[in-house]
């Protein structure tokens, strides 16, 4: 029982909000170029995340900025080791604030440089 898709069709913020609003417990694995990422959602809260060496909040901010890439979502039945506990909205709003204050270009350039 998996969901597969592309972030060019369904953005990371939309995808995350859907699972969090339904208070699901899922594991999301994503890939963009050579960069891999993972987010664990437990009962609607984001409890762990990794993205190319980043962990926690910073990993979510990075993934939220992706406008392409592929994802797979699978249900989880036991509580993962939590390294954070944040609502999706808090994290996405902070990601948007950073994007506004620091600019998208610097993020995009660094992502592209790493995936090259």
């Amino acid at each position: 029982m998996y969901v597969h898709g592309s972030f060019s069709l369904l953005s990371p913020p939309t995808l995350l909000q859907a699972f969090c609003q339904e208070q699901r417990s899922v594991y999301l694995a994503a890939r963009r170029g050579q960069i891999t990422a993972a987010i664990w959602i437990w009962e609607g809260l984001i409890v762990a995340a990794t993205c190319d060496g980043l962990e926690g909040d910073e990993a979510v901010y990075r993934i939220a900025s992706w406008d392409s890439g592929l994802f797979t979502v699978a249900p989880i039945y036991t509580s993962p080791t939590a390294t954070m506990a944040a609502t999706c909205e808090e994290l996405l709003l902070e990601a948007a604030r950073r994007r506004d204050e620091f600019g998208l270009d610097s993020y995009t350039i660094s992502i592209d440089a790493m995936s090259a």
Binding site: P13, T14, Q21, E22, Q23, T87, E89, E90, L92, L93, E94, A96, R97, R99, D100, E101, L104
Partner: protein, 194 residues
């Protein structure tokens, strides 16, 4: 609007929009402080330059169910500064109604007008029909000296056909009148669409 089947809730989103320092945050803080703790969620605060972005959700039991679903409102503010465009767009995504908070002070009309214009642009980009979309206008800071008359504010903003409320969010005057008006407008719109 988001229908949460698992919880039997209808999640409705209301955004307080307006120029920086117009009083959006003060509105939300007042509402949060006076909503029973068992009906409201945590007040989430995100610091931005000059403003803060706030959000919280609460169950509205007095309005009754909508198609057997309990309405749960999420209230948001947007950061008012011009350069927070991505944040405003994210917050406005999926919104069901907007409270436009205008600063009544004489020197703030240009900011009010620019903010109204950007709000309309964002809503149009998101596919909303501005003529039918629920928007309530609040003329805030009526307690301050040197405020423009409500009639003049209506004319300057071009909101003669919109419901408008005078308020002083700091004192709480008009805050719940505005909130009730937008909640009613949103629920009516949802009932029309279901």
């Amino acid at each position: 609007m988001f229908i949460n089947w698992a919880l039997g809730e209808l999640n409705l989103k209301i955004v307080y929009y307006g120029a920086a320092l117009s009083g959006k945050t003060t509105n939300l803080q007042y509402i949060h402080a006076r909503t029973p703790a068992n009906l409201r969620g945590r007040l989430i605060s995100l610091k931005t330059q000059q403003d803060r972005t706030l959000l919280f959700d609460f169950l509205q039991l007095e309005m009754g169910k909508v198609n057997n679903l309990k309405p749960k409102f999420k209230l948001y503010t947007v950061p008012g500064q011009v350069y927070y465009a991505a944040s405003r767009r994210l917050i406005l995504q999926g919104t069901d109604g907007v409270v436009f908070v205008a600063d009544s002070q004489a020197g703030r009309m240009a900011e009010n007008q620019e903010s109204w214009y950007t709000m309309e642009q964002h809503l149009i980009e998101l596919g909303h029909d501005i003529s039918t979309f629920p928007i309530i206008v609040q003329f805030n800071k009526r307690d301050l000296p040197h405020v423009i008359s409500a009639t003049e504010l209506r004319n300057q903003l071009g909101v003669q056909q919109r419901p408008c409320f005078e308020a002083s969010a700091l004192r709480g005057n008009g805050v719940f009148d505005t909130l009730k008006a937008i909640m009613n407008a949103v629920v009516m719109q949802v009932r029309r669409s279901l």
